[in-house]
Symmetry: C2
Subunit: 282 residues, 2 copies
């Protein structure tokens, strides 16, 4: 399995004063609601400005010294990582969410951006017209990519990438976790990605977007996804995908092989943690 790469860079403004919480163990957690506008090329080839709203979690000392510097409207730069969580809700339904954990947060001042145009959102809050939303991941597909067409005829390919993370916990133990990132790519890129198969290691660069739809029970659902603007195939095996030099955990056997190298799939089967097809917007 490819060694994971998981990098998020955001520049945006806070939509409200940040919310500070403490865990039972006394760890500070600061929740930042960030917004910004950035630009994508639409199906007509024109640049379109799109708003994004994402929540960023900041932990520990950094949370404590940031809390007094931040207010609604404060512009910040965030470097962080996508963080996948899965749980069962009160009714026993499996749920999952993709969040952003900050590695660092820097408060921006009005220097070069002085006089830079902003837009006001529905709550009257300033949103940067030239925000930043840059995400880079490396991981493996957990199942074959799926190509579909929207009612207006745009090709869209969906796939889910398992991004490995290896870290040392507070007690000094080596831990491994996996972040499942749903990726959508559009039009020409969608068609060229349709052949991506389970286990394939990929590099995806894009922006984090929030899909929302109404599920079959009439409830509004939200899900953060990566809208890929660039997808690269990585080679497999030693060195390919920046292969870890650590011993691999036990992995499921995979029937089909592509290329010269064996193709282990992620150890977890998370298919059922994703919303059923009928809950998806198209």
């Amino acid at each position: 399995m490819a060694r994971g790469l998981n990098s998020v860079q955001l520049i945006g403004t806070l939509t409200q004063a940040p919310d500070m919480k403490y865990t039972a163990g006394g760890l500070a957690i600061l929740e930042l609601n960030l917004a910004g506008n950035d630009h994508v090329v639409g199906s007509d080839g024109q640049l379109r400005e799109l708003a994004w709203y994402h929540r960023v979690s900041v932990f520990g000392k950094q949370a404590e010294y940031l809390v007094d510097q931040l207010a609604a409207g404060t512009p910040v730069f965030v470097e962080g990582r996508l963080n996948y969580r899965a749980w069962e809700d009160a009714s026993g339904q499996k749920r999952s969410a993709l969040g952003i954990n900050a590695v660092r947060v820097d408060v921006l001042t009005h220097g070069p951006r002085k006089g830079e145009p902003t837009v006001l959102d529905a709550r009257g809050q300033e949103r940067l017209k030239n925000a930043l939303n840059h995400v880079t991941i490396i991981g493996n597909l957990i199942r074959d990519a799926e190509l579909r067409y929207t009612p207006s005829g745009d090709a869209v390919t969906r796939f889910v990438v398992a991004v490995n993370e290896q870290y040392r916990d507070r007690s000094g133990q080596d831990q491994e976790s996996v972040h499942f990132v749903e990726v959508n790519v559009w039009r020409e890129l969608a068609e060229s990605c349709a052949e991506l198969a389970k286990g394939d290691p990929v590099l995806v660069i894009g922006r984090l977007v929030k899909d929302n739809w109404t599920d079959k029970d009439g409830n509004r659902q939200y899900k953060d996804k990566l809208e890929g603007s660039r997808v690269e195939y990585l080679t497999r095996g030693p060195g390919g995908g920046g292969a870890s030099t650590r011993p691999q955990p036990a992995q499921q056997a995979v029937g089909a092989q592509r290329g010269q190298q064996s193709r282990p799939s992620p150890a977890l089967d998370i298919d059922e943690e994703f919303p059923p097809e009928e809950d998806l917007p198209f």
Copy 2:
């Protein structure tokens, strides 16, 4: 001094087979010469395609398992850091260079890029028309920014950013080094950055370019610089600039103060390590 951020992402192709060396201590060093084309907006507002050539150093085990997978033309993704070196040449002249040290290298295969157009360079080597050259740094200006105008009337502002790096060396000691990165920004951004002053903490996002010029002795000189497409001012003091929680090393006093916080300058005086003005291309 702002806690440094130093991130390089490149996608390009090797211009030749990589060159493997070993240090006296047995550490493998693999040198990759990479090339690619990317796009910038020119003074006429039009997208222009520009070639870049950069050298990337890969170390240790990663170098050893990569060497057999790489040949002239192999496409790779590199995540790395800018690395500043200074030395005296044989004639006692102070010299410096900015290189790229790889954190990881992934070999790309012809997946979605299948059929993607490439150009041939002067040596007949394929160069990706859609390469990637994405650099992000956070650091402090070592002297005031300088605004000039090219003979054709384009504004260009130059400044040098000291990027801190803290790391643990092989013997487990905490070390600190500083990377000096020369930044050029153009036109409107140049004019808005002209007021940046010594000590100011900034975030710069841009592409790494190689300036070349003939010095007063008639020798061809090359220097890697960051061409900034985005510059953000950071706030100072605790939390601002992602302030380190470590004790600060002894720092020079700085006369002028801006803002509410003290403004230490980098501990090193490297002014003389940069080429004299007459050696610069304009």
